[in-house]
Amino acid sequence: MTTISPSQTTRHRRGRLRRFSSALILAALFVASGSCSRYEPPPFRLNLEGLDRTEADSSGTLRYSDEKLQQIVDATTALFGTPDEPFVFEETELDIALLRRAAGPVSSDEHGNPRGLYREHCAHCHGVTGDGAGPTALFLNPYPRDFRPGVFKFTSTHQGGKPTDEDLRRTMVRGIPGTAMPSFALLPEEDLDALIEYVKYLSMRGESEQLIFPLVIDDEEELDEDILLEEVLEPVVGLWQSSTLPQFVVVPEEPRPSDRAASIAAGRELFQGERGCAKCHGPTGLGDGTERNYDMWNNKKLNLDREDVAARWSLPLQELRPRNLRHGVYRGGRRPLDIYRRIYAGVKGTPMPAAGPPYGQPARSDAMPEGSKNLSSAQIWNLVDYVLSLPNEEHPEIASAERPAESPKAGSPGGAGG
C-alpha cells in the first residue's frame, strides 16, 4: 500500500486547476447573464374581459384586430400614461405628484420619499392595471376590486355614486372585515393620499378605456386629442366630480330612533315582510336565502361554460353569498351610519338594492301612498337597528355563540397542554 502524506494531497496540478477555473468562470457567466438582464416596465393590460377575440363580421375580418386594439392602447396611453410614468390631464384634478409617489417600481427618490407604493401594497391583489387580478387574486373570496369599471361597493354616496376620498380612505384605514382587504392604518398620511389618488387614477383610466372601445371598434373614429377629451375624459371625470360632491353624500334625514326596542320590532317586520330582505339574507339572517347571487363583476360570466370563462376572463366565476348578519362582521363598516348607507343606497355592483330614493328625488314620507318602493329614513333606521341586533339575538334555530367562552378564566390555557 502506498500511503500519501497530507502535504502531497494538498498539492494540486496546474493543468487541472486551469480546467476547473474555466468551468467556474463559465458557471459564473451563466449566472451573471441571468441576473443582469434589464428591467422591463410592465404595461397596463388592455381590458378584454368578456370579449371573444375570434369574433368576426360576415366578411371574415376580426372585430377586435390587433391593429384596433393597439389604437385603444395608444389612446388610453395618451390620456393616462403608463404604470411607470403616469400622466394626467388637468381636467382630472388628480395630483400628479401624488400619482408619481404611488406609481412605478418599489423604490425611493433622492429625498428618501417612497415610490411605487401601489406595487408595494396593492398590486399583488389588485394588479398593476387595477384589474383586481394580481397574482394573489385567484385565491381570494371575494375577489379584489376591479377598479376599471369605476364601481365601488362601499361608498357614502347615493346609488350610482362614486366613492369620496373619505370613503376610499376609510376603506384603506379600516380594511374590509371579512375579506382579504387588510387595514393600512399604519401608512403615513401622505402615502394614503397617494394611494387614494392612484386608485381614482386607475379607475378613471379603466372607465376611459371602456369609452374608447366603442369609438374605435364601432364608430371607427380617428381619435384626436379633442375627441378623447370631449367624448371620453369629460364624461368620466364629470361623473367622478359630480357624484362625490358633498350634497351627493347620503345623510340621514332623521336621527336614529331612541326607542331601540320598538325600532327593532319595526325593522323585523320590514325585514321579514315588505322589503323582502329575508329572500336573500334568510329569515334568520344567516345569509342562507336560497337565491344564488353574483355581483356585476361576475354575472356576465354566468351563461358561459368554464372554458369560455377561462378564455375571456382573468378570473373564474365566483358566487356572491348574501351577508350572514349574525356574524357581527360588517364589510362596509359597523357604524349605524354605515349600515344606513348600505341600505339606503345599496351595495354598489351587487344585487343588494337601494332602499332609499335616487339622488334628487324626495324620500318617501309617511304621507305618501302605500306601495311606494322607497323606504323612509325612519324605516331604514328600523332596519339598521334590527340588523345590528341580530348578532346578539337569541334564536331557537341557531346554536348559541360560535365564539369561545367569554370568561378568560374558563378557557385558561390548561386543557390543550395535556
Partner: protein, 587 residues
C-alpha cells in the same frame, strides 16, 4: 453475532463473478448499498441546489423588498414588473425548509452516508435487507414527484411553513398553497416517512446483526453510533409524524376535524405530534454528522478520539432526552405554561451531553498532529459552528427568554448554525473524506480549501447577523417587515446578510465543479489515502459489489492513531496484533 459463526479471517469473501448484472440492476434498481448510497447522495445534491436557490430568492426579497427579482421575477411575475407576490414568498420559505430538511439533510446523512458507510465500516458485505434498502430509496421518488408537482398546481406549492400548522394548512381558503399544493406536501411527507422507516429498520438490523468478527459495539466508529441511534430515533418517532400527516390529509380531504376547533378538534394536537417527530428529527440531522466529524477529526489529528465511551454515552443521552423535549417548540403556543417548565428542564439538560461532545473534540485536537485537509477544515468548522448553535439554543430553551426571541430571526440563526454550520459542514467534510472510497479518485484539495474558506466566511456573515436582528425582535417568515416601525432599523443588516448569502450560494458552485470535475479528472486514490483505521479503508476504492476481498476482522477500536504499539501513526482495526503496520490489508 459471534466470531465463530463467521467466515474465518482472511478467507476470500466474494466470488467476483456472482454479481454480474445488467446495467439497470447494477446502477438504477440496484440492491448494492453503495450504489443506493450514491443515488441518495446525488438526488439530495440536486435538491440542495434547488433549496439553496429558494433561499437566495428569500434573501433577495428580505434585502430589497418588492424589487424586481432576478430570473424568478422575470419568468413568473413579468406583469408585476418582476416583483414577487407575498404568497410566493411564503411558498419560498416553506419549500426551502421542507426541501432542505426532508430532501437534503436527513437523506444525505442517513440515506447517502448511512447506506454507503454502514456495511463498509462494520465489515459487512451489504445491508441486511438489500431489497428493502432499494425500496427505501425508490420511495423517495414519489415524495420527490409530489413536491416537484406541487410547484405547478393551482395555488403553487405548500405555503403554510415547513411545520404545516393547522388550521392554516387545513383550511382550503386560508392560503393559496393550502390547495392541492398542501395535499401534495403531506403526501410527500408520508412517502418520505415510509422511505426513512424502511431505511432505519435496515440500519438497525444491519448494525446489530452483520458486524464483522471482533467488531463489538464498543469498537464501532462514532459514525456508526450516530447512524445507529439515528435509526432508533427514526424508527420510533417517524410513525407519529406519518400518522399525524395522514390525519391532516383526512382533515383536508375527508372532512374529519382532528385539528379544527370548530369540528371539535384541537390545532395544538398537530403541534404536539409534529414536534414529537420533528424534534428528534433535529437530532436525526445532527447525530450522524457528529459521528462523521468525530471520525474525521480523530483521523486528521492522528490521535485517538478523546473519551470514546463518554462520546457514545452522550449520543445516547441526546437521543433519549430528544424524545421528551418537543414541547420547547411550543412555549408560546398556548400549551399549559406549567408544562413549559418541564420541557425547559429537559431541554437545558441536553446542553450537558453536547458540552461533553465539544469538550472531547477539543480534547482530541489537543496534542494531535493536525493535517489541514479540506475534510478536516470542514470538520473543524462543524465544531466551531456547533458551539455557537448549541449555545444559542440555551436562550430559546429558557422559557422566559424565549418569550422575546421565539419566532424571531434569533431562532433562524440558531437553526442554521446547527443545520448548515453543523450538518452541512459535516456533509462537506464527509464528502472530501470518503470521496476516494466512493469513486476511487480524490477531490481537488486547493478548490476544496477555497470552497471551505469562502463558505465559512459567508456563512458566518449571513447567519451570525441573524442573532442580532433576532435580539431586536425581528420576526421570521415575514415577507417585508416594512410595516413595523421597530424593525426598519435593521434594513442595512438585511442587505448585508443577503450579499453574504448570495456569496455563499455561488460558492457552492465551486463545490459542484470540484465534485463533478474530480469524478472525471481527480487523481486516482488507493485503498487508504488518509491512513485511516476504520474497516472501509481496507476495501478497494471503490469497493466492488460485496465490498471486501477478504473478510475483515476487527482486533481493536477504530481510533488507535499514533499508538505506541506500532511504528506507523495508525493501526487499522483489522490489522492482526503481531503483523507489521498497514501493508497487510492493502493491495
Amino acid at each position: 453475532m459471534t466470531v465463530a459463526a463467521s467466515p474465518s479471517p482472511g478467507a476470500p469473501l466474494v466470488d467476483a463473478n456472482s454479481h454480474h448484472r445488467g446495467f439497470l440492476r447494477r446502477y438504477i434498481f440496484s440492491t448494492d448499498h453503495k450504489v443506493i448510497g450514491l443515488q441518495f447522495y446525488f438526488s439530495t445534491l440536486i435538491w440542495f441546489f434547488v433549496g439553496g436557490a429558494l433561499a437566495l430568492a428569500v434573501r433577495w426579497q428580505l434585502a430589497w423588498p418588492w424589487s424586481e427579482m432576478p430570473i424568478v421575477g422575470r419568468m413568473l411575475f413579468a406583469a408585476e414588473g418582476g416583483q414577487i407576490s407575498p404568497e410566493f414568498y411564503t411558498m419560498l420559505v416553506t419549500m426551502h425548509a421542507t426541501i432542505m430538511i426532508f430532501f437534503v439533510i436527513i437523506p444525505i446523512l442517513a440515506g447517502a452516508f448511512g447506506n454507503f458507510l454502514i456495511p463498509l465500516m462494520i465489515g459487512a458485505e451489504d445491508m441486511a435487507f438489500p431489497t428493502l434498502n432499494m425500496f427505501s430509496y425508490w420511495f423517495m421518488w414519489p415524495a420527490f414527484a409530489c413536491m416537484t408537482a406541487s410547484f405547478f398546481v393551482a395555488g403553487g406549492a405548500a405555503s403554510a411553513g415547513w411545520t404545516s400548522y393547522p388550521p392554516l394548512s387545513v383550511l382550503h381558503d386560508a392560503a393559496p398553497g393550502s390547495g392541492p399544493g398542501q395535499t401534495l406536501w403531506l403526501l410527500g411527507v408520508v412517502f418520505i416517512g415510509i422511505a426513512s422507516m424502511l431505511g432505519s429498520l435496515n440500519y438497525l438490523t444491519t448494525i446489530i446483526q452483520m458486524r464483522a468478527p471482533g467488531m463489538t459495539m464498543l469498537r464501532l466508529p462514532m459514525t456508526i453510533w450516530g447512524l445507529f441511534i439515528t435509526a432508533i430515533l427514526q424508527a420510533f418517532a417517524l410513525p407519529v409524524l406519518t400518522a399525524a400527516s395522514v390525519m391532516q390529509l383526512t382533515d383536508r380531504l375527508l372532512g374529519t376535524g382532528f385539528y379544527l376547533s370548530e369540528a371539535g378538534g384541537q390545532p395544538l394536537l398537530w403541534q404536539h405530534l409534529f414536534w414529537f417527530y420533528s424534534h428528534p428529527a433535529v437530532y436525526i440531522m445532527i447525530l450522524p454528522a457528529m459521528g462523521m466529524v468525530s471520525d474525521i477529526i480523530s483521523c486528521y489529528a492522528r490521535k485517538p478520539l478523546f473519551g470514546y465511551r463518554p462520546m457514545v454515552a452522550a449520543i445516547i443521552a441526546i437521543a433519549g432526552l430528544g424524545f421528551i423535549v418537543w414541547g420547547h417548540h411550543m412555549f408560546m403556543s398556548g400549551m399549559n405554561p406549567a408544562m413549559g417548565t418541564t420541557f425547559m428542564a429537559a431541554t437545558i439538560l441536553i446542553a450537558l451531553p453536547s458540552a461533553v461532545k465539544v469538550f472531547n473534540w477539543l480534547g482530541t485536537l489537543w496534542g494531535g498532529r493536525i493535517e489541514f485537509t479540506s475534510a478536516m477544515l470542514n470538520a473543524l468548522a462543524f465544531v466551531s459552528m456547533f458551539i455557537i448553535g448549541g449555545l444559542s439554543g440555551i436562550f430559546m430553551a429558557a422559557t422566559t427568554v424565549d418569550i422575546v426571541i421565539h419566532d424571531t430571526y434569533f431562532i433562524v440563526g440558531h437553526l442554521h448554525y446547527v443545520l448548515f454550520g453543523g450538518s452541512t459542514f459535516a456533509v462537506f467534510a464527509g464528502t472530501y473524506h470518503w470521496f476516494p472510497k466512493m469513486f476511487g479518485r480524490q477531490m481537488n484539495e486547493f478548490w476544496g480549501k477555497v470552497h471551505f474558506l469562502l463558505t465559512f466566511l459567508f456563512f458566518n456573515g449571513t447567519f451570525f447577523t441573524m442573532h442580532i436582528i433576532g435580539m431586536g425582535g425581528y420576526p421570521r417568515r415575514v415577507a417585508a417587515a416594512t410595516a413595523y416601525a421597530e424593525f426598519a432599523r435593521f434594513e442595512p443588516l438585511n442587505v448585508f446578510m443577503t450579499i453574504c448569502a448570495l456569496g455563499m450560494g455561488f460558492t457552492q458552485l465551486i463545490f459542484a465543479a470540484n465534485l463533478f470535475g474530480s469524478l472525471i479528472w481527480g487523481r486516482r486514490a488507493d485503498r487508504n489515502p488518509w491512513r485511516a483505521n476504520t474497516l472501509e479503508w481496507t476495501a478497494p476504492s471503490p469497493p466492488p459489489h460485496g465490498n471486501f476481498d477478504f473478510q475483515p476482522v476487527a482486533y481493536r477500536g477504530p481510533y488507535e492513531y499514533s499508538s505506541p504499539e506500532v511504528t506507523a501513526d495508525f493501526y487499522p482495526q483489522n490489522q492482526p496484533p503481531d503483523a507489521e503496520p498497514a501493508t497487510a490489508a492493502a493491495h
